[in-house]
Amino acid sequence: MRLRSAIHLGSAALALALLAFAAPAVIAADTVDPVADAKAFKKFFTDKFPKVKLEDFVNGPYSMNEDLHKQWEEKEQFPPYEFSLEMGKEMFSKPFKNGKSFEDCFPNKGIGIRQNYPYFDEKEGKVITLELALNRCREANDEPPFSYVRDDMAALTAYMAFTSRGKPFDIKIPNDPRALEAYQKGKEYFYTRRGQLNFSCATCHVQSPGERVRAEVLAPALGILNAMPIYRSEWSGMGTTSRRFTTCNSQIRGVPLTPQDDEYRNVEYYLSYVSNGLPISGPGARP
């Protein structure tokens, strides 16, 4: 037995050396090319689900299962996010103590701009998501920031998404190495396995969309953020992108980071970019 384990250790060292030698070559060849990524991303899903039209991927599980689609259509007649949408509309124009309102913080008074978020702010060198921008607007007007996972933030983003319904995602990566790096980090987060269940976002949303995790049918990664924020029957309430990311983490027994952490904003940047061209369908209803 000792001899065999010695050989094992020897070959392990050899393998490690090889790996180390090979690794840099792989990274060098693997320059970051978002345009190609986006094309490959769309091709992967349209090949995997030839019957699903490109723009229908934004309906997530409902484009994957007929029985669910019927239940969705029935819900959409009078959707459960109706109240949150109305609350968001009211809050959006309600003046702060200093008289200004959200409308003054956003281009075009915040109407029909959701499809441009998240964007890369070259002054700060960071990804700015819609939720972050909304809280920054509050802080700029001496108002306390909202929690990223509760109803107020969901109502605001629901209203802004509603005003952009049908407009294609239009995420830009400026010619700035930091933007490319943020995009690449987001991609890495998306494919990195985490949590005791050892799943990455891709394990569910790339390897097995359309299949069930107990009662739920998994959504394809393409267009997965187009319907945000979503009213989930599971939560019987609204959920922002932040709430979705943190709950996904804890479901696979990974400790979630704080909402709107760099990693979360970067993965939202990556996922939105590769879904460019698909229409905004938020706010959405989901199981």
């Binding site: 094992h8 250790l9 392990a12 490690l16 990455s200 790339v206 390897q207 990974g254 400790v255």
Partner: protein, 105 residues
């Protein structure tokens, strides 16, 4: 590529096996050491931003058992918490490269 990973993991296995085999007779001092080791490992996982929820839960169970004076149980939980934390560290480090395997190209 995969069985190279299999072989390179071997040394780390021995490390873990070594740690958990030394189940000393349940005394408070041993427990405290084991608990500290587990917490340190979990902290390191935190620095890699890859902690597991089950590590924290096992640590809490260890603490609860220790408070109740059941040091055998507390020791076992502390050991398992350490193993979980080390596993989460290994996961973070090895995923640094492996994530590319599943990337859509």
């Amino acid at each position: 590529m995969r069985n190279a990973m299999l072989k390179s993991a071997l040394p780390l296995v021995l490390l873990i096996a070594g740690a958990s085999s030394a189940l000393a007779e349940g005394s408070e001092a041993d427990f405290k050491a084991a608990y500290a080791a587990a917490e340190a490992a979990n902290k390191e996982a935190g620095s890699l931003r890859n902690q597991w929820t089950t590590t924290a839960a096992t640590l809490a169970a260890a603490k609860k058992a220790a408070d109740a004076g059941e040091f055998d149980k507390a020791m076992a939980s502390a050991k398992e918490a350490e193993a979980l934390a080390k596993a989460s560290i290994f996961q973070a480090t090895s995923e640094k490269e492996r994530w590319k395997d599943m990337e859509i190209r």
